[in-house]
Amino acid sequence: MNDHSTRSYALSMQEPPSAEHLALLALLTTRPEDSTWQQLTTGVLNAGSAQTVWDSYASPELIPDPARAAAVERAHADLHAWRQRDLTFVSVLDHAYPRQLRDIHQVPPFLFVAGELVQNDTAVSVVGSRKASSRGLDIAASIARALVQRNITVLSGLAAGIDTAAHVAALDEGGRTVAIIGTGITQYYPKTNRQLQDTIANKGLVLSQFWPDAPPTRYSFPMRNAVMSGYGIASIIVEASEHSGARIQARLAVEHGRPVILTDGVVEATVWGRELTHQPDVHVASSTAQVINIVTEIEQRRAALPGLLSALAMAK
């Protein structure tokens, strides 16, 4: 069940930027000791504070490093500019941050948010080829509608083809849909989805893990797929070719321990699809009804552990 009670909060213009936000941004722009964003984010989560990590890199000398001061200054200016532009910045340590993303090692250090953040958002990815067949588009729409009927959020990547069909069907059905995009939050890619992205921001949620004006790059889409895998409780690959991005999402989901549902078409059409079926928690479905059955089993399984544990504890 989705809990719609916890809304994201927009900071007022008067409020000073949080010291945690400043420290996080300073860490990410200076990357002390050549650390990757992933290493820095892991460190910040382990410490429970970006400031603690930022301070740990300060040199013990008496004269402060001007580069460090400049980085904090720049962070100040960025946060201010983003507020002026009405862009919502959420850091990995904020309460509003989707907590299921903290389960995956590619957890983004921050997100830009357009729309409503909901804690415990039960979402399922519906993804696939940009150049989809009309049958593929129908399947995507059918699955999206069925998920909405079960009160499950339809998650996708706002790409052409399968992604678009899933988002549109979810909106048509009056359900919640979340788009995780491969560009900055102010960008539209493909341009033809401009209106759809704005609609999703109004009625659902658009998330971006990139700087606000970042253009699409060949690296941004796989990074975005990792976040999609992490946000949802499962990934459904509707239609895909041997080299489509959906393949990356399927592989990442297995690495995250998240279930994957492949349509029988994907298994027939691709070598990777066939090979993936040997991995744990990879399912094959030949109808929307089967997809929904598998999703239901996944939800039930997640709820079963406490009962299993108390039975074992009593048997001890």
Binding site: Q100, R102, D103, H105, E255, H256, G257, P280, A315
Partner: protein, 243 residues
């Protein structure tokens, strides 16, 4: 619960673990000349043990752990290591806590019966290695294993909070143990093994006859030359592998 075999009894737990984490967790490997006999880290050069374990053995010989069991590898920079960090989060990070729970209990329930059989002395007491850094609070692993661990819990206090990396019986304080004690030392991760082996030495000094170690994850830094060998070893999930 009348199932004859322990595996049968714990099957649902094992199945859940394989389903939910089999995509990124692997069984540890005990293979002479390929992994360390004590800690399962990949080794080269025809040795039986890795350098740190060999050095500990040279210094403490038979006072070290009698038996060691490792459930999985935590490979730095990957999902397995990240899970071992996140399960300790407050408030708890749901999935990582769930996976470590499944790992710890699968290990505890399956390995203890095996350990009792091969050692000849059933485990009489257990202890989770306390943290040696920062605040002393209840270890999250302690709360996970407490309802299932065999025998009595031994109260242990650290004598330092400096995060010492020495292997030293004096790092912990423990009351005198009854005769014929078999102590199970439990920890979430093993990097050099100094903390777990220190507590083994403490238990030995307190009169333990046998001391076994159960570790959830052997920490692996993939930049170490040795660990490149890990890629050469086919890692497959074998759910019924034993101690």
């Amino acid at each position: 619960m009348t199932s004859p075999s322990p595996r049968g009894r714990y099957e649902p737990l094992v199945n859940l673990l394989v389903t939910e984490a089999g995509g990124y967790l692997n069984n540890t490997i005990l293979e002479p000349g390929i992994t360390c006999r004590t800690c399962r880290t990949p080794i080269t050069g025809g040795w039986l043990r890795c350098y740190p374990c060999n050095e500990q053995l040279r210094q403490f010989s038979s006072r070290l752990a009698d038996y060691t069991a490792f459930l999985t590898y935590a490979i730095e920079g990957t999902q397995s290591a990240f899970t071992m960090y996140r399960y300790k989060d407050q408030p708890p990070s749901e999935t990582p806590h769930r996976i470590v729970t499944l790992l710890a209990l699968t290990g505890l329930l399956l390995h203890t019966e095996c350990l009792n059989r091969i050692s000849g002395i059933p485990v009489t007491a257990w202890v989770v290695v306390p943290t040696l850094r920062g605040r002393a609070s209840t270890h999250p692993l302690r709360n996970i294993v407490a309802p299932f661990a065999p025998g009595q819990e031994i109260p242990v206090t650290p004598t330092t909070t400096t995060g010492s990396r020495n292997t030293d019986a004096g790092l912990f304080r423990m009351p005198r143990l009854p005769s014929a004690s078999h102590v199970l030392v439990i920890d979430d991760t093993w990097a050099s093994g100094s903390h777990a082996q220190s507590l083994v030495l403490t238990a030995r000094a307190a009169g333990a006859e046998l001391v076994s170690v159960l570790i959830v994850a052997r920490w692996i830094k993939p930049t170490f030359a040795d660990n490149k060998r890990l890629a050469l070893v086919t890692l497959l999930w074998v759910p019924d592998q034993r101690v």
